[in-house]
Amino acid sequence: MNQAEKEAYLREYSILKNQGKPFFPYAVAKDSVMAVVVMIVIIFLAAMFGAELGPKADPTTTTYVPRPDWYFYFLFEVLRVMRNIPKFTDLATIGVPTICMILLFLLPFYDRSPERRIERRPVALAAGLTTIFAMAFLTYTGANTGSPNTVDLQPPASLTAQQKAIFRAGALVVGNSGCLACHVLGNNGNDGPGPPLTHIGRILRPEAIASTLRNPTAPMPSFAALAKQNPRQFYDLINFLGELQ
């Protein structure tokens, strides 16, 4: 908008405002009706569905699949999808959510046309509808998939049932420890800065993996604290990586 358009808008607006009604009681009346509706909806939902409390938090179990609240599903889903498309892993590390947030912040600065009627703003209309459908779709698919930090690797058939259980537990530790931020494991994780771990068992023996985790080269963080506080999880982790032939 240039100066003339700004002034035209302000002039037009002051006429419209002068022809309007006082905020109190006209707008306040509508707002109050809406407030009552909101309150009724909240009480209705609360009375109908209540609030459950699951089993107590237990840091030693790793067999729990983490679920965020529903309004974060779309975020989790974006991260999961981006990580699984190799071309986009760089984008995912720059942070698709960060980019979206910046775009949202700056909207008034790159959309500078004076037009306000949506039927005359085809780009805004398309972008708005696309965003709504994308968020609805991602929330829906996010509701039906695991979390982005799960590792979809299956244990080799040659293992015994007990070894398979340890394999799965180790995969969960990897998912919950943030390794996927820097390493690829099968279809999951980011390609870099760390090397892929999909076949790490071929390259390093379990003892070597364990010492890497205790004394890694920067920028990889040390997991010595995990080994000390949770030897069981650490053992599962090493075992899992060692099996990745």
């Binding site: 006429i15 942070g95 909207l107 959309d111």
Partner: protein, 269 residues
């Protein structure tokens, strides 16, 4: 100094100018009149010291343009959902203990199973969060499709985006507090994902965890952020948001065009 708008009283109720021959000031005689006078003098006393009435008149009796419709109630509905969170949150805080060793879970269990209406209040807080998120997105969609973020309301929009992020952050930090399996593991993963973000990511997740590991102080930190830091910020920013809305005037629906009416000239001059 521009003239402040006055209350939109119907003609019959507006104070009439004193007629010649009437006494200067009517003496209060009945108890009701005395009580009303006492009330007025208290209000006057406060107003003499604060000049609040000017601000209230400015806020409440400003005009909203023609054509305002139900979509314009979504912002205040969001604010109302926030008030619901604040009030139910205070009651939850009366029972909650941020103790990762088991106290937190136990206190929520007590609240859910035993405290009078505890289950209902907790459910209202929980579902209120979802309702607030839905309303804030609907409000944002209304602002977007009406082009209401354009000149001169850009700053209102930016404060709005901050409010959106803070509201999501409330959802995230509140999720850990019951300290059951679900909240614990979801939060661990959430914080780790945070750590993969660009630039500030690792620092942010270290800040949230209160260190490189998810430990006993993590819960108190989430508690403090959820109970004091973010609610304070949200309340302050809602104030700034509403100040800007009143200052700039609420935008008219984009399809309404001003007609130059002959009466208008008379009323504005």
């Amino acid at each position: 100094m521009p003239k402040l708008p006055s209350p939109p009283l119907p003609k019959a109720l507006r104070p009439a100018p004193r007629r010649p021959g009437e006494p200067d000031e009517k003496q209060a005689t009945t108890p009701i009149e005395v009580a009303a006078d006492a009330g007025i003098s208290v209000v006057d006393w406060i107003d003499e010291r604060t000049s609040l009435s000017g601000g209230i008149r400015w806020m409440m009796f400003r005009k909203v343009p023609r054509g305002i419709n139900w979509f314009y109630t979504l912002g205040s509905a969001t604010m109302f959902a926030f008030l619901n969170q604040a009030v139910t949150g205070v009651f939850l805080a009366m029972y909650y203990r941020p103790d990762a060793a088991g106290g937190a879970y136990e206190s929520v269990r007590y609240l859910t199973d035993q405290a009078f209406l505890g289950q209902l209040v907790r459910a209202m807080h929980k579902w209120g969060a979802s309702v607030m998120i839905i309303l804030i997105f609907m409000h944002m969609a209304r602002v977007f499709f009406f082009g209401a973020y354009k000149y001169p309301r850009e700053l209102t929009w930016i404060i709005g985006v901050v409010l959106l992020i803070l509201t999501m952050a409330m959802g995230f930090t509140g999720y850990l507090l019951p300290f059951d399996q679900r909240s614990y593991w979801a939060t661990i993963v959430g914080v780790n994902i945070n750590g993969t973000g660009p630039f500030l990511g690792p620092y942010l997740s270290d800040f949230l965890r209160a260190g490189p590991e998810f430990g006993a102080t993590t819960l108190s930190r989430f508690y403090a952020i959820h109970m004091m830091l973010i609610p304070g910020l949200i309340a302050a920013l809602i104030g700034a948001h509403l100040y800007l809305v009143s200052k700039l005037g609420i935008s008219a629906p984009p399809w309404i065009k001003a007609q130059e009416e002959p009466e208008l000239r008379q009323t504005t001059l």
